[in-house]
């Protein structure tokens, strides 16, 4: 029996790693097994990294160890951010992932240049273009989410044609390099154009479309890693990249369906233009408003309450007050659940993480399909910082820009209460007929302090009997 060569042993650990990655994602399917999934993912990654350090091609360690320490030094604080900052952290990690994939592709190119075979050149070119545009695109997304950059869409006339021309330019440079590998000076130009395209891809996209954009960037980052696997003939990169790319793709599809929009519409649709035409018809109609005392009285008389959180709850940092409200109502024997729309917040699953952080049991967090059947039997639907995802016009008014978007059927509850700063329209600038229904009470104020007042009222009321 022949012994394995060191290279074969390393390849064997990569196979183990690939199996570990698949199990990690499989076990992530439910919260019960998810921790096991993370653990197997960690073990798989650690084995692969340690084995690679023993690769005979690696003949100097000092700088690699320093780079690993720097990476860990950046990674740990980025892993410890607050839950409200998770969307921008995620965008930043897409940027880092795409950056490393692009840099490795660039390094491979310069090792081989100018004698790069045509097919390899096409692979490297495509890989570097996707990596570069994902890098800058993710940085812009992170900037918008951190509110360093304006969240509203920044658009100008003819933007889509201009963007597509830029992308076409990057591809044209790549094709030229395939045909004329000796034009090595075109390679940095190709990178530069791809970097510019990444900026142009994300700048026109508004804050509320971030869940889709983050998912798409996730997908791109994955596919750039998979392409790098093609370039380096590394199957573990192909597997990890394909899994990451597939994950981003599945999430993008979920997000697009939840908004009843297509990829092209999110990327090139210019939701901004639709907003402008929709805001014209705002009329002053009477609404009923209520005080915290009245809201508390209605809640304490209810048997079942569904709370619908949105991005406004995250902005107001109201999740811990919401937990107090949940505790008080539950103690009184009232059934409290949460109805969560897939695009609530700034990334997929954002609301669930915030509410879980506030110690709300996850079996009370129900997604749209699970909760919608329950609204007709619900006494009170309490909406905190959500707007468009509760707009019944999406069901009925064919002229509405959000017509066809699946919504939470809060209007089927017996009483609807909406905590909102003012009557100002939501992100899309679309009037919400929900607010003018007879059963709807508007609770005007900051989400955190309003929920706090209700909680005070309920706990005070308890002591008076």
């Amino acid at each position: 029996m022949t012994a394995f060569t060191p290279q074969q042993l390393i390849d064997f650990t990569y196979i183990l790693a690939a199996v570990g990655f698949i199990l990690a994602l499989k076990w992530l399917s439910t919260p019960v097994t998810a921790m096991r999934g993370v653990l197997i993912g960690e073990i798989a990654s650690a084995i692969a990294v340690v084995a690679t350090l023993f690769d005979p091609q690696v003949d100097q360690y000092r700088w690699i160890i320093i780079a690993l320490i720097i990476g860990a030094g950046i990674g740990v604080p980025l892993g410890m951010v607050k839950m409200t900052a998770v969307p921008q952290r995620t965008a930043l990690s897409h940027a880092f992932g795409a950056l490393s994939a692009a840099l490795i592709g660039i390094a491979e190119y310069y090792v081989a240049a100018p004698r790069v075979p045509k097919f390899e050149m096409a692979e490297i070119g495509l890989e570097v273009i996707i990596g570069s545009l994902t890098f800058t695109g993710s940085l812009i997304a992170a900037g918008k989410l951190q509110e360093i950059l304006p969240q509203r869409p920044i658009t100008f006339r003819g933007q889509n044609y201009f963007s597509l021309t830029v992308l076409g330019g990057a591809i044209a440079l790549m094709v030229t390099l395939v045909v004329h590998p000796e034009y090595t000076h075109l390679f940095p130009a190709m990178i530069g154009v791809a970097l510019v395209f990444g900026v142009m891809l994300v700048t026109p996209i508004g804050g509320a479309d971030m869940p889709t954009v983050i998912s798409l960037l996730n997908s791109y980052a994955g596919f750039s890693a998979a392409l790098l696997g093609f370039v380096l003939n590394s199957k573990v990169l192909v597997v990890a990249g394909a899994l990451d790319g597939a994950s981003g793709f599945v999430l993008s599809v979920v997000m697009c369906k939840a908004m009843n929009r297509s990829f092209t519409n999110v990327l090139f649709g210019g939701f901004g233009q639709i907003q402008a035409s929709a805001t014209g018809a705002v009329e002053q109609r009477p609404v009923k408003s209520a005080t915290p005392e009245e809201a508390a009285a209605i809640l304490s008389a209810a048997n079942s309450v569904v709370i619908v959180p949105g991005y406004g709850m995250a902005v107001a940092q109201a999740q811990h007050k919401v937990r107090e409200l949940y505790d008080i109502l539950t103690k009184r024997g009232i059934d409290v659940k949460f109805g969560i729309h897939p695009v609530a917040g700034r990334m997929p699953g954002h609301m669930n993480v915030l509410l879980a952080e506030a110690d709300i049991p996850y079996d009370k967090l129900l997604d749209m399909d699970e909760i919608n059947g329950e609204f007709p039997q619900t006494d009170v639907a309490l909406i905190i910082g959500a707007n468009d995802v509760t707009n019944p016009a999406a069901r009925t008014e064919a002229s509405s820009p959000i017509y066809g978007m699946p919504i939470l059927d809060v209007d089927k509850a017996r009483t609807v209460m909406v905590i909102k700063r003012s009557m100002g329209a939501g992100f899309a600038g679309i009037e919400n007929p929900l607010y003018f229904l007879d059963k709807t009470l508007m609770l005007f104020g900051d989400a955190k302090s309003f929920v706090g007042s209700i909680v005070r009222e309920l706990s005070g009321g308890g002591s008076h009997g």
């Binding site: 993912g41 410890m80 998770v86 994939a101 990249g241 669930n352 110690d359």
Partner: protein
Amino acid sequence: MPADFFSSLFVFILAAFLGVEVIKRVSPLLHTPLMSLTNALDAIVVVAAIIIAGRHESRLSTILGLVAVAASFSNMVGGFVITDRMLHMFKTGKAKKP
């Protein structure tokens, strides 16, 4: 066209199909941890970065490789740390301490 391309394509297509099937089963509850976990797994590109940096074929490729090592390893560490933290927060009503 290099022969490697076909074996890579083969692996890619199988992994992508498997990925879609597995990820469709992930509860929407866990979509945020899903994204941070796949980010951490994707950071396996660090192994390619280590090879590029360790071979030091040229000064440029070594420097690019080292930056890639730091960038991808930060994703690996940060991604696992935050996924772990998030999943610890998901508790059922019964498991919750009084």
